[in-house]
């Protein structure tokens, strides 16, 4: 078994791994996309809101950061349907969970990014007569996004790895595919070696791609 490595069964079922990998990437992209919207909105609300708003947002962030992702996944998938009327799939459930998860981390990233916008730029915006809203849209947010780019990249890679938790509710991503092959072929070493390789290569490819983006747009790296 483990001693004579035999990869043929792995290659035969490789489609499960490949489609799982694609799904993992899609889940991560969806999560960071929605997470960005949540994070951005809450970050803007945070810096411009009153004490109550800030406390609520802080509570949201603290809860998500201190509770294991797997528990959140169970909560949304098993717990929430008991109080809502409509049904949703496991994949949808996971996307919602991971997006909320991403949103909490991104609120911090964006808030720090907004704080890091140099005073001078904002002053320049005031000097040419922009309203606070215009300053937000044309000066602070664009600058903040460039400052936050490295942190965004790291978050995305993390989210990609976090998609593995979706396997516990039978979402057919990469880790689920690995377990499937594991249980059906008993080729434990082989499948996990391949899956490790896939995560590493995919993660590395993502990093290189994002670094290229950073070089073009980021400030301060």
């Amino acid at each position: 078994m483990g001693y004579d490595l035999n990869f043929t069964l792995i290659w035969r079922h490789f489609d499960k791994l490949w489609s799982g990998l694609i799904l993992s990437l899609e889940l991560a992209i969806l999560a960071i996309g929605i997470g960005c919207i949540i994070g951005l909105a809450l970050a803007v609300l945070y810096v411009s809101g009153g004490r109550v708003v800030r406390a609520l947002i802080a509570a949201y962030v603290e809860v998500i950061r201190n509770v294991p992702l797997i528990l959140l996944v169970y909560l949304v998938f098993y717990g929430v349907p008991t109080v809502v009327d409509f049904a949703y799939s496991n994949t949808t459930s996971f996307v919602v969970t991971l997006s909320a998860y991403a949103g909490a981390y991104l609120v911090e990233v964006f808030r720090a990014g907004l704080d890091a916008v140099p005073r001078g730029l904002i002053d320049a915006g005031k000097a040419i007569g922009l309203t606070p809203f215009q300053r937000l849209v044309h000066v602070r947010l664009p600058t903040m996004l460039r400052i936050a780019l490295p942190a965004l990249s790291n978050t995305f890679v993390s989210l990609f790895k976090d998609t593995s938790v979706a396997s516990v509710i039978a979402v057919p991503e990469l880790t689920y595919g690995a377990q499937w092959i594991n249980f059906n072929t008993f080729r434990i070493m082989e499948v996990y070696l391949v899956v490790t390789g896939l995560y590493l290569v995919a993660g590395y490819a993502i990093l290189i791609g994002l670094r290229a983006l950073e070089r073009r747009y980021a400030i301060g790296r």
């Binding site: 809860v63 528990l71 909560l75 717990g79 790895k161 880790t175």
Partner: protein, 216 residues
């Protein structure tokens, strides 16, 4: 809802203890090994640095879950037959070791290069250079991520329920299976994890403040 939770508590307590136990062991063992390997990564000869670097990069590049499954299912094949508990702790520890190595590397590299020169110049041997000059300065950069990592260990420990280890999450799921009230119980479980980790993060922030007496 509340009576469900009240019913559940005696069943959850053992699981909570297991979670705490696993987290403590993981953090303690990984910190010791991680610091040693981290120092080896920064100061060691090439034949030591490359394997440690490789180990750290690979382990941190895969999801914890994959590592746990790999260890749990793969270990028996190497002849080592561990109980689920031991296998789970081993997997979590390996993961944390890789992270601690990174914390150590970042912390030591944040100490200005001239410090090592000055320590050499007054004639201190290597281990005293580390102990009296480098470590006191590196500790300041090491603590914040390390303390964060402790909450990561607690959160990561929840995954061992998938390996059949009777931790808090495992206990919650058993009770859910019996009472069919997932929402209340998962919320309660979330509360327990939250209290644990939030307390840890408060303690860590206080500790950080104590160590930031060196002004740049």
């Amino acid at each position: 809802m509340l009576d469900q939770i009240a019913y559940a508590i005696p069943f959850l307590l053992p699981g909570l203890l297991v979670t705490i136990e696993v987290s403590l062991i993981t953090v303690a063992v990984s910190s010791v090994i991680g610091v040693v390997l981290g120092v080896g990564l920064v100061y060691g000869p090439a034949w030591l640095r490359w394997p440690i670097r490789g180990f750290s990069d690979i382990i941190r590049g895969i999801p914890i879950l994959v590592l746990l499954f790999f260890v749990y299912y793969g270990l028996p094949l190497t002849g080592l037959n561990l109980q689920s508990f031991a296998a789970a702790v081993l997997g979590l520890t390996i993961f944390k070791v890789a992270q601690v190595i990174e914390y150590v590397r970042g912390a030591i590299e944040s100490v200005p290069r001239g410090q090592m020169d000055a320590a050499k110049a007054i004639g201190l041997p290597f281990h005293e250079r580390l102990a009296y000059v480098i470590a006191p300065q590196a500790v300041r950069r090491f603590l914040p991520p390390w303390l964060n990592g402790v909450t990561d260990a607690v959160k990561g420990s929840a995954l061992i329920s998938l390996l059949g280890v009777g931790d808090l999450l495992f206990g919650i799921q058993k009770v859910v299976g019996r009472t069919y009230d997932p929402l209340a119980l998962y919320c309660f479980g979330a509360l327990l994890y939250f209290v644990m980790n939030y307390a840890l993060s408060i303690a860590s922030r206080a500790l950080e403040r104590r160590f930031s007496y060196i002004r740049e």
